[in-house]
């Protein structure tokens, strides 16, 4: 492709740098405020705080998956297998709990481990055999979906006591409520922000995304970091799958079809550069809220069909990618 100029983070330090670095994040914030403001002005009951909380309740699983995706995209890679891994996790949990009668305390760590192992395997193939992440995770996606279908082609309901109690638990405060999933998702976001901002792994992630050659020459552990981000993404997908199974209380091989695209869209709308090396997890959170608000507005509007969600997401994706290009292009 035509030569892509260096990413924002790798450019020469300039006085304007901070503003430019935060520009996509800022744009997302403005968009969010505009959308929310328009919603409040237009629809009765939109200003209810519970509406915002419901965005989190309904998208907790997407948030967790998007956190993993942010790590991968920051290194300049991509993970197309997340949706399939989410589906595989719901399917495995449902099958083990319902059909095999396993204890939930055994199933929970097991499915998380399987997700992480899948990510680890893909990361190893990507790094050691130098195959494009896109194609490896595509194979991973085929594999995970195929495994779903071999477990069962129909939906399996979950009525395990632990699962249902977590699913129905409402954390109430001042007349509002959130679900346990939201707490888990927020915890994942907090850990993610800590890891990316304050640990060596986080710095290495940014460094590899900025310029893998330089990172290697600087003696950073490129192999370990790159494999780690795919493992993190696999783990986050599995955790997202667990949260989705709390939300749906069923395992289905058709769960989360196309979720990888929602996750990528959330990350991009959140201002993370797709070329890697620049972006913030908080932007991803904003991106997920934007996607959630689109759905909420379409629900409130009532006469718009759900396919408008896809079109609006596509338009937003376009707008933010063009924004990224203009920001990146201003770099020398």
């Amino acid at each position: 492709m035509s030569a892509v100029p260096g990413t924002v983070a790798t450019g020469r330090p300039r006085a304007l740098q901070p503003q430019q670095k935060y520009l996509p994040l800022f744009a997302t914030g403005v968009l969010l405020v505009l959308m929310y403001g328009a919603g409040v002005l237009r629809y009765d009951g939109f200003s209810d705080t519970q509406v915002v909380l419901n965005v989190f309740v309904d998208n907790a699983f997407l948030l967790v998956v998007a956190v993993g995706m942010t790590f991968v995209i920051l290194t300049g890679g991509i993970d197309l297998s997340v949706g399939a891994v989410v589906a595989l996790t719901t399917m495995l949990s449902a099958s083990l709990l319902q059909e095999q009668g396993w204890s939930p305390y055994l199933v929970l760590p097991l499915v998380l481990l399987i997700g992480a192992l899948l990510g680890l395997g893909m990361g190893c193939i990507i790094h050691y055999f130098e195959i494009q992440p896109f194609i490896v995770t595509l194979a991973g996606m085929f594999l995970a979906r195929g495994l779903c279908y071999t477990i069962n082609t129909s939906s399996i309901p979950i009525n395990d006591p632990l699962w249902t109690s977590i699913a129905q638990q409402r954390i109430r405060f001042g007349g509002f409520f959130i679900s346990v999933s939201v707490l888990i998702a927020l915890a994942v976001v907090a850990i993610g922000i800590y890891v990316l901002g304050y640990t060596r792994l986080g710095r290495n992630t940014y460094a590899i995304g900025g310029n893998p050659q330089s990172a290697l020459l600087m003696g950073l552990p490129v192999a370990r970091t790159r494999i780690a981000v795919y493992t993190i993404s696999g783990f986050c997908s599995a955790l997202g799958g667990v949260l989705l199974s709390f939300y749906m209380l069923s395992g289905n091989s058709l769960h989360a079809v196309g979720m990888e695209l929602d996750a990528i869209a959330a990350v991009v709308i959140g201002g993370t550069l797709l070329t890697g090396g620049s972006g913030y997890l908080i932007g991803t959170v904003l991106g997920v809220i934007v996607l959630g608000l689109i759905q909420t507005i379409i629900t409130f509007q009532g006469d718009l069909s759900s396919w408008w969600t896809k079109i609006v997401i596509g338009v937003l994706l376009f707008a933010f990618i063009v924004l990224q290009r203009t920001v990146a292009r201003r770099q020398p």
């Binding site: 494009q132 091989s253 396919w307």
Partner: protein, 350 residues
């Protein structure tokens, strides 16, 4: 013998033959082809007939990948074009009117060209990474297709339209002829003119080609337009075969199958080298794999597992790093690099 073994089509053809032959155990008359009512019938014909849309999409994808890009939106283009054509035809007072059907087909293909041009503009002019640029249409396109069909499945009853995907012409399924014509056209343009060379040059290094005086942007743009057109024709075929348009499921995941076909055919995902014949072989292998799974009686759901296995193995074999690590001692000629076999190889001390 060594020459045959080293031919770039040896492994794809061998895979295809093994797959085909394995069907003999499960249905002995697998290779039987007979003529009924002036139409060719048989499992082999079915493979090509149902594989025709995939062949078309893969041909377009080959050229895009050869320029170093990728087009994820083909599945959505398939859905959109099928939807538009069916919507047009369902609005006709006489659905069997040839002029009306031709108009609908023309409209749908026009839209396909536009969608391809949109991708081409984003990639060539705006300079956005291809995977991301086409992701936009992939996400929004499904929504557009549903917008066109209003979320319903449009069923039509038009015999001229039925011809495109399910009809016969001169005893041969019409879809096979269309795929052949497009294949011949692409082959002629890329191998009998300099276009193929230019595409490979752009895929190898767009910037260097531009400096050498090649209109790199124009070539990239054209390849996306061609890819869009191929996807559009495939969309017509798929919707015509089932006489209906389904915005949600038409062409779902066909982009992945197409990329797989291209990779199996020996085209490198890095760009700069392509083989249209290899792609057709690749598409046939995938279709045969699907058909074989049906004949053997394995649950069709496991098709995805097999595809995952095939993608992994093919990509590993194509990866220089993998070959260097696994086949270090044997120095096997790389199957995906046919053009370079003549040159003396640089040996890496093991």
């Amino acid at each position: 013998m060594a020459g045959v073994l080293r031919h770039r089509f040896f492994w794809p053809v061998a895979t295809l033959l093994i797959l085909l032959a394995s069907n003999l155990f499960f249905s002995p008359d697998f290779f039987a082809v007979d003529v009924r009512q002036g139409h060719l019938y048989g499992s082999l014909i079915d493979i090509v007939r149902f594989g025709a849309p995939l062949i078309l999409v893969s041909l377009g994808m080959t050229l895009v990948i050869a320029t170093g890009g990728i087009d994820l939106s083909v599945g959505s283009v398939v859905a959109i074009c099928g939807a538009l054509a069916c919507l047009q035809i369902s609005g006709l007072s006489d659905q069997n009117s040839v002029v009306g059907v031709l108009l609908a087909v023309g409209l749908a293909l026009g839209l396909a060209l536009l969608l391809g041009a949109w991708n081409g503009l984003l990639v060539a002019q705006a300079g956005i990474q291809p995977i991301i640029a086409t992701l936009i249409l992939m996400v929004a396109g499904r929504g557009l297709a549903q917008l066109i069909t209003d979320g319903q499945i449009i069923t039509i009853n038009s015999s001229p339209y039925k011809l495109i995907g399910g009809g016969y012409w001169l005893t041969v399924p019409f879809s096979i002829l269309v795929a052949l014509v497009v294949f011949g056209f692409a082959l002629l343009l890329t191998r009998r003119t300099a276009l193929g060379l230019l595409i490979e040059s752009v895929g190898g290094n767009a910037e260097a080609s531009r400096l050498a005086g090649i209109h790199a942007k124009r070539i990239i743009f054209t390849s996306y337009v061609f890819c869009g057109l191929c996807a559009g024709i495939a969309g017509l075929m798929i919707s015509s075969n089932v006489s209906s348009a389904d915005g949600n499921n038409a062409g779902l995941w066909i982009e992945l199958d197409a990329i797989l076909a291209v990779v199996i055919g020996g085209t490198s995902l890095a760009g700069g080298r392509f083989s249209l014949g290899g792609t057709v072989l690749g598409a046939l292998i995938i279709q045969t794999l699907t058909t074989t799974i049906y004949t053997i009686g394995i649950p069709p759901e496991t098709t995805l597992l097999f595809k995952a296995l095939v993608v992994t193995v093919v990509c590993l074999l194509q990866s220089p790093a993998f070959r260097a690590k696994v086949f270090r001692r044997r120095r096997r000629p790389p199957p995906a690099q046919p053009d370079r076999q003549q040159q003396p190889k640089v040996e890496v001390p093991a």
